[in-house]
């Protein structure tokens, strides 16, 4: 039996600026929504499929990352002595490759046979995929929390700290106006890199073929483009984006316990961002993601009046989405469809 307990000597509690916290949280949420929206939009843009399995893919991807980084420790188990960050990055890469392969396999097994069928029926198939992938993933997650094993820990970058330092690694008891977790910095950098990568991809030969396929499958096929390969590529990229979104969700400070059975539901919160930006717009996914992230963060911080009830921050994204749709029915950057009636 252990006797005695170290109860904290209560020092004056550090309370960083409320506005600063709101902005940091908005950046973090925005990055998550933007990446999730990006994956969703790429699949929709290339295949016209509304992928309701995106949440399940994000939980599965996060679990794969946790598995490679911590549970089976691959390739770290063969890299003793190498930097921890390198081991982790390679684990993430391995997991993303596997997620991409699974995405391609799902497309081949469940979606390819549906080419030519009504889009509504295809969307329903993705609901079935969601249930299957989510159930299997949750069974694997099991009873314990599954941390991501990232090398960032609890470290934060402090701005406007009491010790006079303006930017530096802040200790947890150090008073700072704003504290940005390194995980948030990582999310921002990776988001920018991915957006740039996707933009470059759409200028590549395969990217142009994907745009052509999205425009008209028959014409693309007549031009020698393998539509099936384009679909598979879109699902691979979508699954990778979903996995990265799942990683962002499951890190400190949002879920320091890691991926759990709620992770799959988080992705559905990105839908307002997708609709707001425009279902088929890459730029819209980014702008919509950050707009909704900041709106939700601001509402969670400032709109906490009793008469609004609890969790009004979760409602605000939908209000913003509805207001924008009243003015721009195809979203901020979506392609307008003109129909003769």
């Amino acid at each position: 039996m252990t006797s005695g307990l170290l109860i904290l000597a209560q020092e004056s509690t550090v309370v960083p600026s409320e506005f600063g916290r709101m902005v940091v949280n908005g950046i973090s949420l925005g990055a998550i929504y933007a990446i999730l929206a990006l994956g969703f939009v790429i699949i929709f843009k290339a295949t016209q499929v509304l992928n309701f399995a995106h949440g399940a893919l994000s939980a599965m991807g996060a679990f794969l990352i946790a598995s490679f980084a911590t549970i089976i420790n691959v390739p770290g188990r063969w890299m003793e002595g190498s930097p921890v960050w390198l081991q982790w990055v390679l684990s993430v890469v391995f997991a993303l490759v596997l997620a991409a392969l699974i995405g391609m396999a799902l497309e081949r097994m469940f979606l390819r046979p549906m080419i030519g069928e009504a889009l509504f029926a295809v969307a329903i198939v993705t609901l079935g995929i969601d249930i299957i992938v989510r159930t299997i993933t949750n069974d694997f997650i099991g009873q314990t929390s599954r941390p991501m094993g990232d090398p960032f820990g609890l470290k934060t970058v402090g701005l406007g700290c009491a010790n006079g330092g303006f930017i530096g690694e802040a200790d947890l008891v150090e008073l700072c106006t704003v504290r940005i977790p390194w995980t948030t910095v990582f999310q921002m950098i990776l988001t920018i890199a991915l957006v740039a990568g996707v933009a470059m991809f759409f200028r590549s030969r395969t990217g142009i073929a994907m745009r052509a396929t999205a425009w008209d499958q028959e014409v693309a096929r007549a031009q020698g483009i393998s539509v099936g390969r384009i679909f598979a590529t879109a699902w691979a990229i979508g699954a990778v984006m979903a996995a990265i979104g799942g990683l962002f969700i499951s890190m400190f400070p949002r879920r320091p316990g890691g991926v759990d059975t709620f992770t799959a539901f988080f992705a559905f919160r990105a839908f307002p961002a997708i609709i707001l930006g425009g279902l088929d717009s890459i730029l819209g996914a980014i702008v919509g993601g950050f707009a909704i992230g900041f709106a939700e963060s601001a509402a969670s911080t400032y709109l906490t009046f009793g008469f609004l009830g609890t969790g009004f921050g979760g409602v605000v994204p939908y209000i913003v989405m509805l207001l924008v749709l009243l003015i721009r029915p195809y979203g901020l950057f979506g392609t307008e469809e003109i129909r003769r009636v």
Partner: protein, 461 residues
């Protein structure tokens, strides 16, 4: 088109097979029953039952769920095996099955084997009622009933059927005779758990002056939050943030809102009652903002995964977190705990050290004592089993859980004792669940003095 139809048919079949792998009611029932029937019953029937059964047939009253000829007593378990609390309830059921198998191997209830009829409720009230209706004509009692609203939903049927139920929930409302006519609640109710834990924290740190309280809505969260408020008032703690009922574990926006409230409050003590994932999310956001406080809440928030080597909060929670458990933690140094550990490890060598297995053992041992008492009274009817439970003056788990009486008024019999624990990586590395005992058999002055004559939080009006 024909080709497409064929593919769709194949995919549909594949989907159904995969979905079946996820676990459904039928599969759960089969899993739970088959081992009991094959592994435990057969030897007992030949070795011990024949003479006892003959004797029993002459002396024992029975009605539903007891078959003296077959030598069986059938008990129902209404368990959440696939719902939001499945990660907690699955090990409870495993612990239950392990203990029942041991009881049967040791001769059962005077030669009668206990058969478990395990039904998955998915933590849905409707499914709970439906499953109860399906088994009500085949079981003598409910070995547990998971969830407070779920148990309340079947209370009228329980009364009508003279059916005993052991609630798998620590709601203080079981003190209300209108709710608990047929229930045998064990363990410390959520609100007394709050009074004990906060009382302990303040006893160790008398300078603590403020507290932030947040919880899920409903019987679990708000019962706990009310207990925290009662403790705060008794101890002179100022409630600087009141987030009672503000947490929805599945809604990230509520977690951010509550985290903001706690961060802004500057509280010395933070009391949060919710699920493990939501708890760690709120804690993480507060930690990132630099909040330093003593964190506690209902023990349900604990998950040993938080102490894993890769967990970013591994060190911080050992500094900040403290809980109270209604039963002894996995590593507790008591005869009952040692026996239960040995039992679980023998039954399922892959089972991780986890208190929820022990909770199953606690419930099964209580059931065994009740059934033995009913047999001894010569009445194994449902009413007889219920009467045996209501007349159980003393129950000892040999330190696996605090001793308890079930005879008297709620204020006299309610369990007020807990074990104070804290996260410990050393305990986890030594094969434990990561919870080290700080103080066993602890009852705070507030919990001891609290007049438990009504529910702390009326969730069911």
């Amino acid at each position: 088109m024909k080709m497409k139809t064929k593919w769709l048919a194949i995919l549909l079949v594949l989907g159904l097979v995969l979905a079946a792998c996820g676990g459904d009611d039928a599969a759960d029932t089969t899993e739970a029953e088959t081992p009991d029937t094959t592994e435990a019953e057969t030897p007992d029937t030949t070795e011990a039952e024949t003479p006892d059964t003959t004797e029993a047939e002459a002396m024992i009253l029975t009605d539903i769920g007891v078959d003296l000829e077959a030598g069986t007593i059938t008990v129902g378990l209404l368990s959440d095996l696939t719902g939001v609390f499945s990660a907690l309830v699955q090990p409870v059921v495993t612990g239950y099955e392990a203990q029942i198998e041991a009881i049967n191997a040791a001769g059962g209830i005077h030669g009668l084997d206990i058969i478990l009829e395990v039904r998955d409720t998915g933590y849905s009230v409707d499914t709970h009622v439906q499953q109860y209706n399906e088994i009500r004509d085949s079981v003598v009692a409910l070995g547990h009933s998971t969830g407070s609203p779920h148990t309340v939903a079947i209370k009228d049927q329980l009364a009508e059927d003279d059916m005993l139920a052991i609630p798998l929930t620590w709601y203080s409302g079981w003190s209300d005779p209108a709710l608990n006519a047929n229930l045998v609640p064990h363990g410390t109710p959520y609100c007394l758990e709050s009074m004990n834990t906060i009382g302990y924290i303040v006893s160790q740190n008398p300078d603590a002056a403020t507290i932030a309280i947040a919880s899920n809505a409903g019987d679990f969260g708000q019962d706990s939050a009310q207990g925290a408020k009662i403790a705060a008032e008794a101890l002179g703690l100022e409630v600087v943030y009141d987030g009672e009922a503000k947490i929805n574990a599945a809604d990230e926006a509520t977690l951010a809102e509550v985290a903001n409230g706690i961060i802004g409050s500057g509280a010395d003590i933070v009391w949060v009652t919710t699920s493990p994932g939501a708890y760690s999310g709120i804690y993480g956001q507060a930690l990132a903002a630099g909040v330093l406080a003593t964190w506690s809440g209902s023990f349900v928030a604990w998950n040993f995964g938080f102490l894993g080597e890769e967990s970013p909060i591994r060190d911080a929670i050992q500094r900040d977190w403290i809980f109270a458990y209604p039963i002894s933690p996995w590593s507790a140094d008591t005869p009952g705990s040692a026996a239960a550990r040995e039992l679980i490890q023998a039954y399922d060598p892959d089972a991780p050290a986890y208190e929820y297995y022990l909770e199953g053992v606690v419930e099964a041992q209580l059931l065994e004592v009740i059934l033995n008492a009913a047999y001894d009274s010569g009445d194994l009817t449902r009413a007889g089993v219920l009467a045996a439970a209501e007349n159980l003056e003393f129950m000892s788990w040999d330190g696996l859980a605090p001793d308890q009486s079930f005879v008297g008024e709620p204020n006299d019999i309610v369990q007020r004792t807990v074990t104070i624990v804290r996260p410990s990586a050393a305990d986890l590395e030594a094969g434990g669940s990561g919870l080290a005992v700080v103080e066993a058999d602890y009852t705070s002055d507030i919990a001891a003095a609290y007049q438990f004559d009504k529910t702390c939080f009326d969730a069911f009006g």
